[in-house]
């Protein structure tokens, strides 16, 4: 319509083009460019091991679920670099608000593997007392939030948390994970807007893994990139190759430091791919072509980092086998222990609803404890 030419709409940024995506590790495995964090080989190896053990655990837990020994698992196959690179970039005093795929970050923070496995079984030793589904852990002792299923709710919470730290004058940055699908939620909008207005020290980490269960990213939004959504809130948006652990580490680290220095929030879109199903309840063959998966397997973050290790001249197949074997061994031990533990007590169901148990919960607990289930020991 010719009259259109006359109207000048707000120009959309070109920064959605792929060459705006920050990358460090090249096809040859060499690290280069302005975003190379220049980590020493120890640190790189440390990241590599974390990624490998994360994947090893994923594989084992999926198997466990198929065997019917646990009810559910939601994993991070293919997303290890963006999860561990970003987690490693957070300083010890910083906080992590998880989505539900970040058990690797939780363990990286030092959360005991046994506690994680107890959560997968919802047994009496589960720190959340068997109240939530597997992979819905909570890690306050490790500056780690609490997983809940409703999409997006952790985002505004992370913003308020970060603002509170700032108000107290504490040198703390909060980071919060979510998927690209969650950018459609009301919580993303509110979190970004409040973060901008409050200039909160918070990083919004978007794992753009292309899929929201069966919905591809192009059906989530008509915007070319997720990073450009930052413009709506006056918050910088950056795109990084989320399968490049060094690039991810560097970008997140830079913005952690910026936020800590009073520079405010940032939205970081980490480009990656959900190689597995959405969860053990999902079969992606129903909605996506295998070629796509194969394509992404070629950019596998672990393979890429392994190549970089070769360039650095550290690590060997033998070491890798040994490391995997160790991981599997300790995992198996935790599983055996967790499986042998009893269920949480009937009483535990009525605790922690409130700080103190009110009369009606005492009555209800007594009712259950005097019923057949108590006798049958459920």
């Amino acid at each position: 319509m010719q009259t259109q030419e006359q109207v000048v709409p707000i120009r959309t940024p070109e920064s959605s083009l792929n060459d705006d995506v920050i990358t460090v590790i090249g096809p040859d495995g060499a690290a280069s460019g302005p975003h190379d964090p220049k980590l020493d080989s120890e640190q790189v190896l440390d990241l590599y091991k974390a990624m490998v053990s994360t994947r090893t655990i994923d594989v084992q837990l999926e198997r466990l679920q198929r065997q019917g020994r646990i009810g559910f698992h939601i994993g991070s196959l293919g997303e290890e670099a963006c999860i561990l690179g970003s987690a490693a970039a957070m300083r010890e005093q910083d906080w992590i608000f998880p989505c539900y795929r970040e058990f690797g970050a939780l363990l990286y923070r030092g959360f005991p593997l046994q506690s994680y496995v107890d959560n997968m079984f919802g047994n009496a030793d589960d720190l959340v007392r068997g109240r939530q589904m597997p992979d819905h852990y909570s890690g306050r002792a490790h500056n780690f939030g609490s997983v809940s299923s409703p999409i997006g709710t952790q985002m505004t919470q992370a913003v308020g948390f970060a603002w509170a730290a700032k108000k107290r004058g504490d040198d703390v940055v909060a980071s919060v994970y979510f998927g690209e699908g969650a950018t459609s939620s009301a919580e993303f909008h509110t979190a970004m807007n409040f973060a901008g207005v409050m200039n909160a020290p918070v990083l919004l980490l978007c794992r753009n893994n292309r899929w929201a269960i069966s919905v591809p990213s192009e059906k989530q939004t008509a915007s070319e990139t997720f990073a450009q959504k930052g413009i709506a809130y006056g918050v910088p948006g950056i795109r990084v190759d989320g399968n490049d652990v060094l690039a991810t580490y560097k970008v997140v680290r830079d913005y952690v430091e910026k936020a800590a220095a009073g520079g405010g929030p940032a939205l970081i879109e980490m480009l990656t791919y959900r190689v597995g199903g959405h969860s053990t309840s999902d079969d992606p063959r129903a909605y996506r072509v295998q070629d796509e998966v194969e394509h992404w397997r070629r950019t596998d973050p672990i393979v890429r980092l392994r190549k970089h290790l070769e360039v650095l001249g550290v690590w060997s197949d033998a070491e890798e086998e040994a490391f995997k074997a160790d991981t599997e061994k300790s995992l198996k031990a935790c599983i055996a222990a967790a499986e042998a533990k009893p269920k949480p007590s009937l009483a535990s169901m009525f605790e922690d609803v409130f700080a103190e148990k009110p009369w009606h919960l005492k009555e209800q607990q007594a009712e259950l404890e005097s019923g057949p289930r108590a006798k049958s020991g459920h």
Binding site: S149, P150, H378
Partner: protein
Amino acid sequence: MPEMNLVQAVNDALRIEMTNDEDVVILGEDVGKVGGVFRVTQGLYDEFGEDRVIDTPLAEGGIIGTAIGMALYGLRPVPEIQFGDFIFPAFDQIVSEAAKFRYRSGGEYPVPMVIRTPVGGGIRGGHYHSQSPESLFIHTAGLKVVCPSNPYDAKGLLLSAIRDDDPVLFFEPKRVYRAVKTDVPEGEYTIDIGKAKVVREGTDLTVIAWGAMLFEALASADEVAADGISSEVIDLRTLWPVDIDTIVESVKKTGRVVIVHEAPKACGFGAELLSLITEKAFVHLEAPPVRVTGWDTPFPYTLENEYLPLQHRITPALRETANYVP
């Protein structure tokens, strides 16, 4: 007559009405290509196309808000909320808008819309894949609430709901989805919204249930029958507006009543049922009406079967109520 489970029966009703009426559209998360996480809309995307079966962005408020807009235009949207637990981001659009639209516009703007969503426990879903939010919507004037217990009722009630001119919340008991099969007639038939069904006749006490808990109530009724207790079991089918006549008639006969539901007790629908019965049949009551419900805690994962009002909790309640002497 073909046998169907509840998933197939709902799918069948959707296909029939989408064939009958161009204005019926489905929208929600993952309802398209993959046919929903429970496969309830399977095949409809291929059959009716992406303009009739819409995969939306991940925003329940947007699903219901746009569905209301479609209804205002004259379509008959059937939005799906993936789990009843995720209906809350759309709560404002449902209670502030859909429920009040006809009233606040002096009748100018009806909102014919059926919100389908799976509810209840039984799949080890923990806090957020198990809840039963019916009482929140019953408390909101302007909404109808339906919850079938079996495939046959599900199909007939859904066809009625889609043709209804008011917003209807259609709660599907996910524990029943594939667990129960019944004969389901081919083609069209409807079951009136607002009519309960006496599924077991009895004389000593009345048991009121719906959805998945109906089967637990029936199991307990059989169990206590061995002790010579004769239970009448009512499947409400429509929760609101509730079929008060069927309830009161039964309670006048038995004088004793046990109400069963999964949702927490405090301000649950059981409280309203108990109140209505007390108001309307006070002089006929021979024992205090009893509620067997989910506890007033969040819905737990491991102890799901200790949380739910299953047979092990209903049976003692039936015995006590039947044997109550003031």
